[in-house]
């Protein structure tokens, strides 16, 4: 097993937290520092509430300079630090480690620059994803990566997780939209990587920082690319008698040269859950699968592609194909999809969302295999997913009150990840590795692979102070059984749908 570079965290060190807190207060001002136990409680977990650890101290800087000061203090006292945006992450990325300072970007909420002519926006990391679009939508632009947590998650968190969304099939994920970053490195120094212009000479450090889950420093300014909004958006809904047919239709659509803005699939169990709970009356209960396809662009291309997609769905056995252009009608077709996770919550006392990726042509057999695995472990698994890019979100329904259920669900979740790897895919499409999946990294990567990635960490985070123990497996975290008494629930957030 590869051992994470983690000297700071591995040291059995005594910290004088009173003195440390005073030092932070002195350097940053009392209003920037949270040290009372009750107030620290809100920071003890992210969206994955199964892991909890209270930070010893939280700081809320407002500027790059203050972030740098905070990190320099961490170096002085040799304490690890963990960055936190909105805390909606689903892999325990922002989970405080033992004896750590949490650096929260919640007060770094300024949109620093909007340059419509050059299609660029520069923001502080605490800016909420959807604010970017709000800032430019009046002029007909939008920021494309749209995680379903977008009304609450921060751009800094998006950058750290390389977040995706429903519309990343056509337009790409966060990394394809970040042009440059101002970073405070783990030693407190400040660097500018990338910029307003892409492909500066030298290594693409922007590319390595995006998706590094806070292990290489803290982004304090982020320059994003914005896109022009499409003239026309149309949504098609098709229902199928077999999952194979729906899967073949997905392949057929892509094979015909159509790249939809989004392409989502739900299986029979999810359809019924939605109809039981949300009663949308949109999705036929006897369908094995439904497919939602959103096309966008100029009317001249959307209308042609819409006909093609409808035709292909029919050729692959779709019983009905409906389409909608009007925003209200489109919302109706999407409603069931958006209600899917909430519906599961009502169907079953608890549910667990997995995030894995497979090559999309492997969908039919993988879904069958997931159902088999569910049977073997004794759980129902519903499937709601981004079919266009093969990003699965299997939902395991269980009851946490049943002793031992959790461990079994975790084991099933793990088997599903192994299946994804076997199908040629990945253990995470958008939620990240964090604390949750680090022990599955060896499923996908050899020792040499992990060692090479660690070289990047050693280069930029040599003392291991930035978000230690995340991403990479360690004997301590993966050697023994997972700690007991966990609940795998995702914290519900008002007004936020889950995808």
């Amino acid at each position: 097993m590869v051992v994470a570079v983690n000297p700071a965290a591995n040291q059995a060190q005594e910290f004088d937290w009173d003195a440390i807190a005073r030092a932070f207060e002195q350097a940053l001002g009392k209003d920037r520092v949270v040290r009372r136990r009750e107030e620290l409680l809100v920071y003890e977990c992210d969206g994955l509430t199964s892991y909890r650890q209270r930070p010893n101290l939280a700081v809320l800087p407002r500027t790059t300079g203050e972030v740098s000061t905070a990190i320099k203090l961490c170096n002085q006292w040799n304490v690890p630090f963990v960055a936190r945006g909105s805390g909606t992450g689903l892999s325990g990325g922002a989970l405080p480690t033992e004896n750590s300072v949490l650096i929260v970007t919640a007060r770094m909420k300024q949109i620093l620059d909007v340059d419509l002519d050059n299609h660029r926006v520069t923001v502080q990391p605490g800016v909420i994803n959807s604010w970017v679009t709000q800032a430019v939508s009046g002029a007909g632009f939008y920021y494309s990566p749209d995680p379903s947590s977008q009304i609450i998650c921060s751009v800094g968190g998006n950058v750290a997780e390389n977040s995706g969304g429903v519309h990343c099939m056509k337009y790409g994920v966060t990394t394809n939209h970040v042009l440059g970053l101002k970073m405070v490195l783990p030693d407190g120094s400040i660097v500018d990587v990338g910029g307003s212009v892409q492909e500066m000479p030298g290594y693409d450090l922007t590319g390595i920082f995006v998706g590094s889950e806070g292990t290489l420093g803290i982004a304090t300014e982020i320059t994003l690319r914005i896109l022009k909004s499409a003239d026309t958006i149309r949504v098609l809904l098709a229902d199928f008698e077999t999952v194979e047919a729906a899967g073949a239709a997905v392949t057929g659509i892509v094979g015909a040269g159509v790249i939809p803005a989004a392409m989502e699939m739900m299986d029979n169990m999810s359809i019924n859950a939605v109809e039981d709970v949300a009663k949308t009356d949109c999705y036929p209960r006897d369908a094995a699968a439904i497919l939602l396809v959103e096309l966008d662009g100029r009317e001249s291309e959307v209308s042609v592609n819409c006909d093609r997609v409808a035709q292909i769905c029919k050729e692959h056995g779709a019983r009905n194909v409906t389409s909608a252009s009007d925003p209200q009608e489109r919302a109706t077709l999407w409603k069931g999809r958006k209600a899917a996770f909430a519906a599961m919550g009502q169907l079953s006392p608890d549910y667990y969302v997995q995030d894995g990726v497979i090559p999309r042509t492997q969908l039919p057999w993988v879904l069958e295999e997931i159902a088999n695995l569910g049977k073997q472990h004794g759980y129902y698994v519903a499937n709601v997913f981004h079919a266009g890019d093969g990003n699965l979100h299997p939902l395991i329904l269980y009851d946490n009150a049943v002793p031992g259920a959790l461990e079994k669900v975790e084991a099933l979740g793990g088997d599903i990840l192994k299946l994804c790897v076997k199908a040629g895919g990945s253990i995470s499409g958008e939620h990240g590795i964090g604390a949750d999946k680090r022990c599955y990294m060896p499923q996908m990567f050899s020792e040499a692979d992990l060692e090479t990635m660690q070289q990047v960490r050693s280069a930029i985070n040599p003392k291991g102070l930035a978000n230690p123990t995340k991403i990479f497996p360690t004997p301590k975290t993966c050697g023994e059984a997972a700690n007991a008494a966990k609940s795998l629930n995702i914290k519900p957030i008002d007004g936020v749908e889950q995808f």
Binding site: M169, S196, V197, Q198, P201, I208, R360, G424, G425
Partner: protein
Amino acid sequence: MTAIAPSLSKILPETALTPWDELSPDWQQRIAPAIAPGQTPQYLIQPETEEQLAQVIRQAHAGDRNVLICGNGSKLGWGDAAERIDWVISTARLNRLIENAAGDLTLTVEAGTTLEQIQTVLEPHNLFLALDPAYPKTATIGGIIATADAGSLRHRYGGVRDLLLGIQFVRADGEIAKAGGRVVKNVAGYDLMKLFTGGYGTLGLLTQVTLRTYPIPEAFRTVLLTGEKAALEKMSLAIAQSSLSPISQDWLSSELMQSTAQGDTTALALRFGNVEASVVEQSEEVRLLGQKLGLGLSVLVGKPEEGFWADVSDRLCQRTSPIDDSETVLCKFGVMPTASEATVQLIKELSSETKVRVNGGSGLGMLRGMAADWDGEAVGRLRSHCQSHKGFLTVLEAPAGLKQQLDVWGYSGNALPVMQRIKEQFDPKKTLNPGRFVVG
């Protein structure tokens, strides 16, 4: 001159190892600009398998041999000349197709596969690799990635970084490692693909790569707009504010236009690739917009359309003057997109004979000029213009004399120490392409 090193001959077939003296003049010429004047490497090594390559690198590592890495050597002139190269290693014979997952829109090939081979594999599936880099006939995909070399198609499909999904490589110590995967969406582990893209072979030798492929658009149409500078700039802004979706949107200098026989003034070239109806509709909208602004306009379809874009690329790649065979320079630069036209103008003022292409969406461009015009002072002036528009200028190809006078890379940021630390971790002995890149 050189007896074959027994250790190398043990791990390589005879055909994979060529002493410098026995190398064809053509290969010698390709390699020469990458090496400090007066020096010659011992061998050109062309392994046939990844394992052979790994063994060669292990030996290089153990014996402190410096290696120069290439594919077919089409761009060995790019970058600084290396010091003390012992072996030149080409990945050109690692050219197998691993998997064309057409339904998944991904392709996995060995790094020595040429772009041309790749397009030939993809075309029957109505797919293509959305890259139109320099030297498209000889360039291997490994070299294209290492130089992050994308052309006009970047406007719709992004740069090389946006297309690369997974890599396998031999590290400086000879270990084989990988990152990413074969799926279009994947956040597991660090994105080493980004470091290798544009890393000029200084972190490892790519052996296998997975790329995103795209369906070939059903129809193409190109609109060339010419006229008053102010009107053209207005046009460009209008396009940026519209929902028009060209796949390429380039400013082309008068000299470049002339060489393609499509005019003799600076043009804004818009290429549409879409369903037939949309291509027609969008070109029509551009025509109406252009008319309003009093711009000249010509529309290309079919073979001439395809030929035009091939010409643009060919002319930029022409290494010597077609008239008198004299030397040229090739530079890559970037500016804020709104400064694209002004940059074309400035280049014209500095040397009217220079061919320029700038992508209007990203502000990234290439210029090919006569070496006689582009001395240190001219390069310096253009570089400060680019930097004042938040960009950069890198001299890719130039006579050795000019390169020695200049910092060819022109990196002006504050992150050099971070880059050097990464290099230090990946290649502590500095045996891979030493001295060639920004990091030394």
